[in-house]
Symmetry: D2
Subunit: 330 residues, 4 copies
């Protein structure tokens, strides 16, 4: 029997969504507890990343109980520091009061990490950045972004913090926008409890090779968490994993494997118009196929092909295990 | 005194917005009537494009009165055929009942066009398209998109209808995605009351030259309306006009001018984090500068430069009138 | 035994290449006759598309003989109307003398089509377009592009002509840039011997769905030829087919199949740093796997999923036949 | 009288070019000495960046003399480590012999830096990277790229070395692809004679804000040189500066100014189809206009607007000085 890795998902995978057009939402609202129940019904998930604050009236104890009832653990807590109040930024907001409010919200979320015994506080400052040329002083943005994160880290030395970078959206340009910039900023913080959550789709969207981004972060001891999805490369579409870019996905997990990276294989998807539970099931099915194909891969042969930059040879080896009907007929 | 063209704006320019992250909205909600009042306060606008349905409790007569009070006319009416019910499409929805509902909503909006004595019904089927490879039968999409629009046109022979195309969003791929495809589809309809509303930013985002798209539509007698804004080319950012791509904007208005195109210079902007009235004022100020610079342009010289594909000469002529400090010092 | 379609390749697949940096070429030059020998050595190819003029000293008879010796037929002839003389365009060159020279070169190539008994004259006017905003009059470009092609078609009524569109390169913007624009232009020509050669990678690069582009052209009776390759979506990388976007490739061939399109499956690849014969072999191996997977596909089920826009169901059906290790374990 | 900065250009600005289509070149070849003469004839240039090796038969002394004759100085020397031999990489080539050859070529170029008394050795390893998913081991690429550059730096402690990063081309993905990654890699080298040459267009092409990239490098003491041009954002088009993105260009030079950055304003343009001297003249004319507009800018007001992320206010201030006809009529 195959020994799969643990699977997880952001709890928002099971929510409903709005956008700037369908302001009535793509489906009726789904409460935090219902989202947990849906996650449980997938039957394959061990972990969820929990947004905070919860739905109105839901307590930390309610969430703990619901997680336990559904056989789930919190891998992380994601504070919603991208709502109206933070629309010009959390850490880099020009208003010191808003920055203080952001820090307060983050510290409160850190308490939820402790309460849920989660592995990390996930920080995605999606509104930190800019929209227009000339709008910000870039030196100042760096100072605020780095010093704010340092302050948060120092205030919570018992907690691991992971930054999730992304090129843009909702700001036209997000401050933490690539693996390299995030690594550079974390080094400048001089703390040891800040790492990176790498989102496969964000790397793809940003023109990175997700595998190269993973390797860079591993080599800097910063790849502390990751999630997967897919997109059409020009936007963070948060589509179901494997539906567009299976080969780069395979390379990504291959890179994790040869580095001995062991962690949760998480989903970060927004199934706007799909059944959210079915979307998760199809995703896990695909990830398992990737896992099994990786087990069949001739890793030494692939390493040898890469050592000579033999693109055709490397692709052939991976095609052999990834695709059906690929081997020559008898 | 300069005789400017009439200016206009989509009424949503003065609304507040949500997106998938800031679900509490970037600002408190703004009712249809308040939006009209804000449009009026810009002091430069003659026309607005009015989304329909209006805010709850607002009647057509209310809107007429508010427009009159603010010195505005409705240039068009935009039915919201991109809300939840239509999330898998309006014209191309797989469910015939939803298609019928879309048609009913469009016909109802046509009545509002009549009541407001607007110039056109604007149709932006933002949910018509697809998200995933393999999701749709592309032959069927064309059939539904073209026949549905034909049916709408034939049901409203007294009304002009304009299609606004856009490459994507909210669907990962929108059916009406370019000037050429829209022109091709309109020809296939075989009706004479369907044309195009060209959005400068959509063309830019789609990799078109907005000027070339305008010329193509003019040459097919289909450029019936247009609006402007700006973006970073990779998304429909709906930024304030002139803030990123002033030269292509100049080329665009130059193209309209040499073709004798006379119509309203409209704004289609989403100032998420900005004062919406100030955003409109800055936009109109810029458009006036474009207008005045066009009046100073040596058009014959530019035509001569283009006739020999002299890119440097053409740019020099336009720089001479568009930029300050450009002429050589004495 | 599987009855595969005929396979083909552009002869340039077996050439060597230069670019603006490696001006000494990625490999020593390969003559037309050597290219044919290499194509023959793939062992899977039935057709080649032959650039014209040939290498110095090579006659049409030489080419005929070499093709016969290698078991190959010419599917098309591609005149090189993108060399220095045509750097500001062939059909749309501002200089009437250069336009006349282009037409002469095209007519000469038509004679080679006749001599080689090829199926079509392939026209790829890669220098027709513009580089800079303001450089050209777009009305004039359309007139020249359409009337020039009409003139060519009328001068060669016995020959089929296919236009290959592409968004850009080497011009910053190419005139024939999308399926819809090319269809629109061909309709304006009013001739019946001009169609389209659809390049999978050009569609992908241009933000089209290749499958949707194929369907559009089929529905307009214009899909007369096609070739495949792959890229990273933002450029015409002409990579080996199947190495990046296998799912959209599958959708593409699925679309051809359900439309009963029967033609040559051609390669248009530039293996700059790879063994060109090995690149072709790996490509054909992949295309055969696509073919066999298509034979296993439950087409009725896929049609039913598409009829309800069931993205997950559609993907599941295709994953079942395309990927190894995808079906659930016992 | 205005006291402009010194202007410069890459000597290749005055060359002729080939690409993979126009293999006969866009113009007849131009020798190194003729390129210098053309640079001199611009009448505004003080510096050139000199590719090495020179044209056949041209010695260092010839170049020195030609530079002197034309009133020019060498700002840098650019070794051509992107020709056929290095097509799979210079520093990261899989073949140790080729890596050794690259290092030898670089050391030889360092001697030319000394001979010409240039300010730096410019290293642009355009073939270092990869083309295909799965082609390389990304850990190994980092090791080779960083250690190779360190070795070069340590072998030439008297010479400043600048790395020019770029997202891609000619490799589908270049190793040194962003400001942040380059800064991260230079830190890992542990040497003090390696910095960055920032190319405005490369930043724009890579989705960076050029101004933000400049600030990041300044804050890390790494912005040692820079050049400008323009493009359509999706490729390194190397167009004439100011022809597409004047506002981001203004922001870029504003950023240099407020940081007190004093250096040469260089051009890195490829005028494929234009007169190369005229292209330089138009460029310098535009850069002077930027300079003068910057002198008129109310810097304190702009800083204040940025301190509150006031995009509209910031744009208004810059429009006031950058555009003609912008101020309200009397």
């Amino acid at each position: 029997m195959t020994d799969y890795p643990p699977f997880g998902a952001g709890l928002w995978h099971f929510a409903s969504y709005v956008d700037r057009y369908a302001t009535d939402g793509y489906a009726p609202e789904v409460s935090t507890l219902e989202q947990i129940a849906r996650a449980g019904s997938v039957g394959e998930l061990s972990y969820v990343d929990v947004p905070y604050p919860f739905s109105e009236g839901v307590s930390v104890d309610d969430v703990k109980q619901a997680l336990a009832d559904n056989g789930l653990q919190a891998i992380g807590v994601t504070p919603e520091i991208y709502m109206r109040r933070f629309s010009k930024g959390a850490f880099t907001n020009p208003d010191p009061e808003v920055r203080a409010a952001a820090l307060a919200a983050l510290n409160e979320a850190a308490d939820v990490v402790r309460a849920l015994e989660a592995k990390y506080l996930k920080v995605w400052p999606g509104q930190d950045g800019w929209d227009y040329p000339l709008q910000v002083n870039h030196h100042e943005q760096w100072e605020l972004a780095v010093s704010g994160m340092r302050e948060l880290a120092q205030a919570n030395p018992d907690i691991k913090i992971v930054i999730e970078y992304k090129p843009r959206e909702p700001r036209n340009k997000m401050f933490w926008d690539s693996a390299a910039k995030t690594a550079l900023g974390i080094k400048a913080m001089g703390v040891d409890n800040v790492g990176v959550l790498l989102d496969f789709g964000h790397a793809l969207f940003g023109g990175e090779s997700p595998a190269a981004a993973a390797q860079l972060l591993i080599d800097h001891d910063l790849l502390w968490a990751m999630d997967v999805n897919d997109n059409l490369r020009s936007w963070d579409d948060d589509m179901v994993v494997g539906t567009v870019h299976p080969i780069e996905l395979f390379e990504y997990f291959y890179t994790l494997k040869i580095n001995g990276w062991e962690g949760v294989w998480q989903l970060d998807q927004f199934p706007f118009r799909e059944d959210t539970v079915e979307a998760a099931k199809l995703s896990i099915r695909f990830l398992k196929a990737i896992w099994r194909s990786l087990e069949q891969l001739d890793i030494e042969a692939l390493k040898a092909a890469q050592a000579r930059q033999d693109a055709l040879g490397a692709q052939r080896l991976v095609q052999d295990v990834l695709f059906a009907n690929i081997r020559d007929e008898a």
